[in-house]
Symmetry: C3
Subunit: 360 residues, 3 copies
């Protein structure tokens, strides 16, 4: 039995890897929710599967083993396991030991990502995977990449539920166009929770005169209303939508957001996290592969030099303690982040209660 | 509220930095008593101030922020704070939140050092700052510098309350002139405690024939009596005085010690320490800046290769435990160190008792 | 008093060092059973002695001190200690303090290794040192060397009580000659415990056609029976014997095993270990020193790249927990390893009980 660290939400879909990280031959290993996970594709079908990366005999990492068709042979004493985790061969026995099993995890490939369910397998329902379907729009040139940061996964939610930090942390990169940061006339920040437990925060800014870095679909010279939505889905999967329309027109008249981002964070340990990021766009679609790579390098660089370090600093300052328990000052624009923190706290408490019950 | 580690004396002046470390523009950060502290100079007056280096909103380091005149703007979401720690501006609010405060620390610049009081501010009395006034004697060419060592701060007291180790640890540098280390005829080691709680240890050696490395003011060829005093002031601020007179003359006839050193140690964490060191002299006053730097390099090198490593070794051997609790062998010359250890233990116990009372 | 970590067997002989590691002048230090140990040779006789590497005054490492004949002078304040740990000189006292003693450890040089007894000295009986007398056979060119691995010492026992892993972990080096790993007709694996508490596991393979890498004494072309024995002696000292005879002849007719190995593991800490390894041989005895060094490099390289990393992996996976407590799958060939684990567990429990009794 895998010991469940109560700082993580187990009964949920987490991104385990990006589709392109798992090629046909690799025995890929990644620590997720503080558990080593082996991910690889069946040679027979290409379907990706996930197993606890630990042989039940002497605990060697199976990812250091050898592929035998769809199966994995342990490097240490040669036990072989199938994609469901069952032992299929033991070199010095006629029949493999029936208790030699490796825990498999439900794994679903969707929206160019691999979603894993590490809690109770019977609860894993693929229809509840968060909607990041913009990533299926190949005409919008989806780009995806992987970061890592030295901080608790919830810091990713805090960072993204509103975007004030754009104008302070990112002034030298993507947030420097505002002369005097702060509320502009008519600016609205709203937060709502929908029926499926998602939290959606919106920042709406009317009548903007100057265009930003990227073409937003409104002709240059025309004043516009712009907004960005953060659609949060537990535990830490966020879809960003950025739209604009000529000033005064209904936001619904925006046929296609000019940019949609995915920000999916999965705990590596309690104090380190994986960050799967990506976006689609309606501008500069004529870039070649090198041009697209420049986009990735640009955003990765911002994360590496600005967001990543600040989250690491906060982790250091918190020193393993919960953020809310430290009585932080709460600002008006923290409404979304605090709502998310509370939902997460409820989910964690509910899972801990179930675990305690199961242990009785 | 800052959590007070009971291994440190909080209601006392500690050296936070040397004056020359804090130039006009720097947002200087240093961990002191296991608390990150921001130190900077007001642009208006040049006065140095100290704040807890932690924004009360999301806990970013304020030292990574931006100066706005005398104030500091947080890099993450733009909260601004004055030198007393009060929030003066919040970008998305008309009036800043009144509960958004950063803890300020009393800071006094004296003897070319910045003295901080991290305990109860109402007890901070600048007249109790230890006397290192030799550092104000610019005619004696004061030199100051900063070390760091991987050991508990009290090891600094142990190291300096008597100087036997000069003839063993430092034989290849400053202590190698004695052929056979040990007591010489007439040598006296005395320790006394004065009314203000200081401990003064003296080593007096009469009738020395050979001069050491540095000119002690007695003409070469004349036998002399020499002494060195260590004046300890809690928690770990020591002034060394080295004097000499022609043999038989009263020590009071020494108009000016030929060397006076400052050794001020401030905890960084329970197992690492800052060490502020410096000296004045009556010899070789004609050195130019490069020559003075050679003095600093010489003493720094001795610390880096001899004192620092031995304190790190002892810290490793103690493994977080108290030295006295490990029942060390006590030698006659440990009288000063043991007296200091006991005073420190009393101070720590008294502060812990007050903290416990306050918590009730 | 040294605190005894209950994860180690204290009342037993452990290898502290190889004879050739301790030359005439060295003050050698090594952490053994989580205790720093000073080992050096008396200048008067060349006899090796072992002391707790810790001055009882301020806890400096004595190994950083200076030799004074057979004695050691502490680098910090000049206390001197004899080979029995008694203080013989204190610079500022007429007579050295009688309570200034360093714990000595019984140390015996045998089979080109130095065996230390870190438990109750009165129980140390040199006649119970494990038999590695093949190392005394200079005609068989004994070679010895030292490894280090980041894992609990018991993993060394697990690794060596049977050799299945040869055909999986070592396929690219010493175990690659078997086309299809697994039991061959007539192969037998047996384990027995002898009267002196040793565990001997044997793998016997009859009627082998193809010779391996090394000449086993049977003429090439002649089918042979071969075996290897692992003779385990608590805590983790193993002697390997590899023999071969023409098929059908009694194993006793083998006058001399063609290879005998020593594998002696000593805890450094609970999660890191020293590994003293070596072998004698009947083949390729005409190698020169460079050729012998190639043997050492070959075996060291296998350990460094294959055995060492897998033990480090397992240590990581166990995360400080006991292997048996984690309910590992047990295979038929684990009989020897499990028997050893159980004997070790009994020894550890017995020592803990005695310690608890002594503490009352």
């Amino acid at each position: 039995m895998i010991k469940r660290n109560p700082e993580f939400i187990w009964n949920a879909w987490h991104v385990a890897a990006l589709s392109h990280e798992i090629d046909a031959d690799i025995l890929f290993t990644r620590r997720l929710l503080d558990v080593p996970v082996l991910i690889y594709r069946k040679q027979s079908t290409g379907e990706a599967v996930a197993l606890h990366d630990r042989c039940p005999h002497r605990f060697a990492y199976l990812s250091k083993g050898v592929r035998k068709g769809d199966q994995i042979e342990c490097i240490y004493h040669g036990l072989r396991f199938g994609t469901e985790g069952q032992c299929t061969h033991s070199p010095y026995q006629e029949t493999p030991p029936t208790n030699a099993t490796v825990q498999p995890f439900p794994l679903v490939e969707k929206h160019k990502m691999l979603w894993i369910w590490m809690g109770d397998a019977e609860l894993a329902d693929p229809t509840t995977i968060p909607d990041h379907s913009h990533m299926d729009r190949d005409d919008l040139r989806p780009l995806l990449w992987h970061y890592h940061f030295n901080g608790n996964w919830q810091l990713g939610n805090d960072n993204l539920m509103e975007l004030t930090h754009l104008f302070f942390l990112h002034t030298s990169t993507i947030g420097g166009w505002k002369d005097e940061p702060g509320k502009v006339p008519g600016e609205q920040y709203t937060v709502r929770k929908d029926d499926s437990g998602r939290v959606i925060s919106r920042t709406f800014v009317p009548n903007v005169a100057e265009h930003g870095t990227f073409d937003n679909g409104v002709p240059r010279g025309t004043p516009f209303d712009q907004w960005n939505d953060t659609i949060w889905h537990a535990p830490a999967n966020m879809r960003f939508t950025m739209g604009a329309v000529p000033t005064g027109q209904p936001t619904e008249s925006c046929a296609q957001p000019y940019m949609e981002q995915s920000h999916c964070i999965t705990p590596e340990t309690a104090t380190t996290s994986h960050y799967f990021s990506g976006f689609t766009r309606t501008f500069e679609l004529d870039r070649d592969a090198a041009g697209d790579q420049q986009f990735i390098d640009f955003f990765s660089g911002i994360f590496a030099r600005e967001d990543g370090p600040i989250m690491e600093d906060i982790e250091t300052q918190m020193d393993g303690h919960d953020l809310l328990a430290q009585n932080p000052v709460v600002l008006p624009r923290d409404k979304g982040a605090i709502m998310v923190r509370r939902i997460v706290a409820q989910r964690l408490a509910a899972e801990s209660a179930l675990q305690a019950e199961a242990a009785e």
